[in-house]
Subunit: 191 residues, 4 copies
């Protein structure tokens, strides 16, 4: 099926950014949109830490991580003031929009409904042309998310593998075990 | 730097395959070569489980996972018979080559030296044209490994995101919490 | 040093219990008092799950798990309504008292100050005679917490090891591997 | 049921100790006997790390951790030379006995049969009087193991809670968050 334009998101406020951000703002970049609720255990344990790791690991490449607070239950417990404290305590530094309340008492907020999300956490991948490419409700395997990011970055012209970030300092076999004598190896020129 | 042809591997025996496998055999497929020692804690805790997850998650796409037993210490303790028991107990089902012993008493085996590996675990990515594209010693972050696999698959023409595998059955917020009423959402046609 | 009576706790409200609970109510039982804040990451990741596991594993023995919401920061974000939603989402079923606000604008609530807690999470063990026996700020190792519970239960007369709960269904070596043929062993009468 | 004397163990060799150790050697101390196979995944992932943590956390109290290599499958792959390399790589420093081979070709070794173990890992608790008090096949919850150690230590006269080891340096809420201003608290004299 041909990818279609991702629905514009609708928000009532933003945190971690000086001004509201529209989807168009990110044209030319891959977007990982992470929809969550601050009191959703799966978001706190899996989704948000994953979004934070993506933001950190892919710094410097044309990829943006954006949070979306899609409150559809316990509305009184998850207002903007609570969200602000939550983001501070969990050290979330990427921009977070607050999904606009649903019309006519609909408990499901506007963007959540526009994307037909089934709950939280939901991870959404939007390509550099603004098209919706993947939407996953629940735990999203790091290997799969990584692969889809790699594919979308390659499509966007980020095609040289050697421009992807270095692996982090490796937790190698500790204390020199499982490691050959440094003098015994010449570095192989990788490309 | 321009990628170069990956060195051919040299092996003395193979397990989990009816016949020896050469690098040329995998032309047209991305190869994740996982070099390990069966008594290397980092391999057992991180490297091998990761290789197994890659093999499972990317089934059906042009990607092959190949193990390489690069014994450079405790040689007597990690012979073929021990390796066979290890693979059985750890349910490793991808093909595993035994790296050929180094010449003239060199404790470092041939392929390990040809690639200038610094120890185990070492993950190596070879593209569909047989070129060495990435070599990581130690723990390799799933997101980064995934991204590089995605990039190499895209280069190989596996470019449609929708042909990458489905996310696994999600561990969603249990028992219906954090999940909207199924009747309240229409499925969004993803692409 | 001779153990002293644990300070009485002072609370403004209780959740998960039909009536307020005083320390005296638990005389004859060991008490694990878990002081937390609902937006404290260490509490959510470590402290609360540990308290829940203790409550479940030691069901049927004279031990009570009691939560105490000791809010000393972001007061507006962690009011009773938010706490109620939090306990529901995280399936916390043991009783939780809300620590009484400090006098004269003191941001540190009363019980927290009475125990001189340094922050959250703080785990407190009170013996069956109501004496304060251990107070740990931060991550509390399961083995150590278990050992101290075992010691306090033994002091309380819960001395027969065979009345401690059965180990949970074991995650044994899967699929019969690492398991001897059932017919080959006779059950040993344990005591 | 009245606890009975633990069967004497029978071994063919010992590692990590200058001389063979009998059960009688440990009279007056609680013994955690950890039966394992070096190629048993559950032992490597759970049992051995747990035994190592017990050995470290309860240093200084009358408790001994003893390993027992109970090979009942893949005998050729798990000989003494392989075990020695394994213990080195996994940094196991407590004494490990090699269970004596079964008579008349019995694949199950002597001590394993004497205790009617069902497989590996098996954790066995022996009290300070040499009596068998608990035998768990598979994963043994840290809280439960800790509680039983605490009970057996209390029985052995190790009854003052304050002589049990300090909690390890706590992973507190990082960077001062969730921590009260140090000046605001007086240390409470714990006992």
């Amino acid at each position: 099926m041909k990818p279609e334009a991702a629905p514009e998101w609708r928000t009532s406020a933003w945190l971690n950014t000086p001004e509201p951000l529209s989807l168009g703002h990110f044209r030319g970049r891959v977007v990982l949109l992470h929809a969550f609720q601050m009191l959703c255990p799966g978001c706190v344990a899996h989704g948000i830490p994953q979004a934070q790791r993506v933001a950190k690991l892919f710094e410097g490449v044309p990829l943006a991580v954006v949070g979306l607070h899609t409150v559809f239950e316990h509305h009184a417990a998850m207002g903007p003031e609570s969200l602000r404290a939550f983001l501070y305590e969990y050290r979330v530094t990427f921009p977070v929009g607050i999904d606009a309340p649903g019309p006519d008492g609909d408990p499901i907020p506007c963007t959540m409904r526009a994307y037909a999300m089934q709950g939280t956490p939901t991870a959404i991948l939007i390509d550099a042309q603004g098209r919706l490419r993947r939407q996953v409700f629940g735990v999203y395997d790091d290997l799969l998310l990584g692969a889809e990011i790699g594919t979308l970055l390659a499509e966007a012209g980020q095609q040289r593998l050697d421009t992807t970030p270095e692996a982090p300092t490796a937790e190698r076999c500790a204390d020199g075990r499982c490691e050959v004598d440094a003098a015994a190896v010449e570095r192989h020129p990788l490309s």
